[in-house]
Amino acid sequence: MFQSLTGAVELGLMYALLALGVYITFRILDFPDLTVDGSFATGGAIAAVMISHGYEAWIATLTAFAGGLAAGTCTGLLHTKGKINGLLSGILMMIALYSINIRIMGKPNVSLINADTLFSPIDSVTWKYILVLAIVVFAIKLLLDAFLHTDKGLALRATGDNNRMIRSFGGNTDNATILGISLSNGLVAISGALIAQDSGFADVTMGVGMIVIGLASVIIGEAILGTRGVFWTTFAVVIGSIVYRIVLALAYRAEWLKLESTDLKLITALIVIVALVIPTIRRHYKQKSNARKRTAELAVSARGKGGI
């Protein structure tokens, strides 16, 4: 039991970068980016090929990041300059990346058994493993937070929030969109690189369904911890990724459920559906009560002929 829980936390931390990537596109840019399914495998493929050819694991991981950035940039260009519908741009890149990923690996999968990965020095001790992963993930989260509070980051957030407004202040929304999608897929690719190194192989199908898993993490995190401010929300997203893995681990352990590993996608879909529906219901009631409160306030101020 304990072992499956620590395993879940480890996976959750590795997938947290995927979740942060999905958070950037899905929440900040309001752009449903399906490139993720391709770029996750791209990250894994690049890392696996480089490591199996004897490159240092950290160089391989950074190159995976660059590969993700490039993939995201393509999607961004398709959408902003090519004026292709957002969903379709992502799907096109996802399909293209399937072939590209096989080209990168030279075959559909690459094994990393006995290769020196990022985790080789620490994988004998579980708590060390988790600690190092947690530090790395939170460092990346903090970097992302910091970026989102710079002038460039503010423009990126405004692009998703009110692009008409930021354009009227000289913000280039096309560039901001490309930057955001690129950064998102860079993080996703790092996540893929970590997963490949952890599981000891990269496979061209390893990215299938990643967009939904990322989404599940974002939504679960937001549902549990809420969304006040960027700093808090990115934290919620990381936690969401871990919780998602724990929920999965628990579901598998419940023997009366008789779950097979092939049921993973179904469970993920169910988790996302539940996590999507609950906040909607909650929001509905909250809005209703807010509307009532606000109307009452206005009624009072109208009687008192209040100012603004």
């Binding site: 460039k152 957030r157 405004a158 929030d161 000289g170 913000g171 100012g307």
Partner: protein, 264 residues
């Protein structure tokens, strides 16, 4: 300062819905001019604003700021010179971001956006000072999300954001039309004092005749894509609303028809 030379714009050319939005517009604003624009529905007032700000490109003609043609520049590049307040109070601010973050974005108008902090201590101090001018107490709510503000507060913030970097041209597109009378009056007062204080060259579309006469030093009347009357300061001073309406009817041959028109 701002110059429009023979600007024309056609919507849906060659289709049954073809509509002349602007036809051969000649307009020149001198530095410090505060021009109010009135006209009936579909006169081309909003198109005029969109042509100047770069949302729309003219089919013919040229737009110049400070003698330089800007016709080829996209909207976000023209923003360097042009500040804008929209009719919709929701349009000028980013709702999920805080007041200070919104101001920080406005602060970078026309400058490159790099990796320095959007809201530094020095900038926050400046933002607080600027917000005090509005007299709405927003300076104490720097970290509040803009989506929580009222329409009037948001429009006041939009006005501040559009002006505090002193743009060469200020475009106000019926920016009080969506507000109730009390708030509209407040925004009008703020507009007047900010424009006067900063000597901004301003073009303001309004449906409020009284406002159009009271504010600014020049009044333009538009109809069917043309500027049909340009009233200079000396004549505008003694103008009344009935005179203005009569003048409109005399030149255009029909009554000023605008479903939102306010006679003041």
């Amino acid at each position: 300062m701002l110059e429009l030379n023979h600007v024309s714009k056609l919507f849906n050319p060659g289709t049954p819905d073809e509509k002349i939005a602007l036809i051969d517009i000649q307009l020149k604003l001198n530095p410090g001019d505060f021009v109010t624009v009135i006209g009936s529905n579909g006169a081309g007032k909003s198109t005029l604003m969109n042509i100047i700000s770069g949302v729309l490109k003219p089919d013919l003609g040229d737009v110049k700021i400070g003698g330089t043609s800007i016709s080829h520049l996209p909207e976000f590049q023209r923003s360097r010179w042009i500040g804008r307040v929209f009719q919709d109070p929701m349009a000028g601010t980013a709702p999920t971001m805080t007041i200070e973050e919104n101001l920080a974005m406005a602060y970078r108008r026309g400058k490159p956006r790099g990796l320095s902090w959007g809201v530094s201590a020095a900038r926050r101090k400046l933002f607080r000072e600027q917000l005090q001018r509005l007299g709405l107490g927003l300076e104490n709510r720097l970290k509040a999300k803009v989506g929580l503000l009222s329409g009037g507060e948001r429009q006041a913030l939009s006005l501040l954001m559009a002006t505090f970097t002193k743009p060469d041209i200020l475009l106000l597109d019926e920016h009080t039309a969506a507000l109730d009378p009390a708030r509209a009056e407040l925004i009008t007062r703020l507009t007047e004092s900010i424009v006067r204080e900063m000597k901004l060259t301003t073009l303001m579309v309004t449906h409020n005749m009284e406002q159009a006469i009271r504010l600014g030093n020049r009044l333009i009347m538009m109809d069917k894509g043309r500027i049909i009357l340009d009233i200079p300061e000396n004549r505008k001073r003694d103008l009344t609303v009935p005179q203005l309406l009569a003048e409109f009817e005399r030149i255009s041959g029909h009554k000023l028809a605008d479903d939102r028109v306010v006679l003041g």
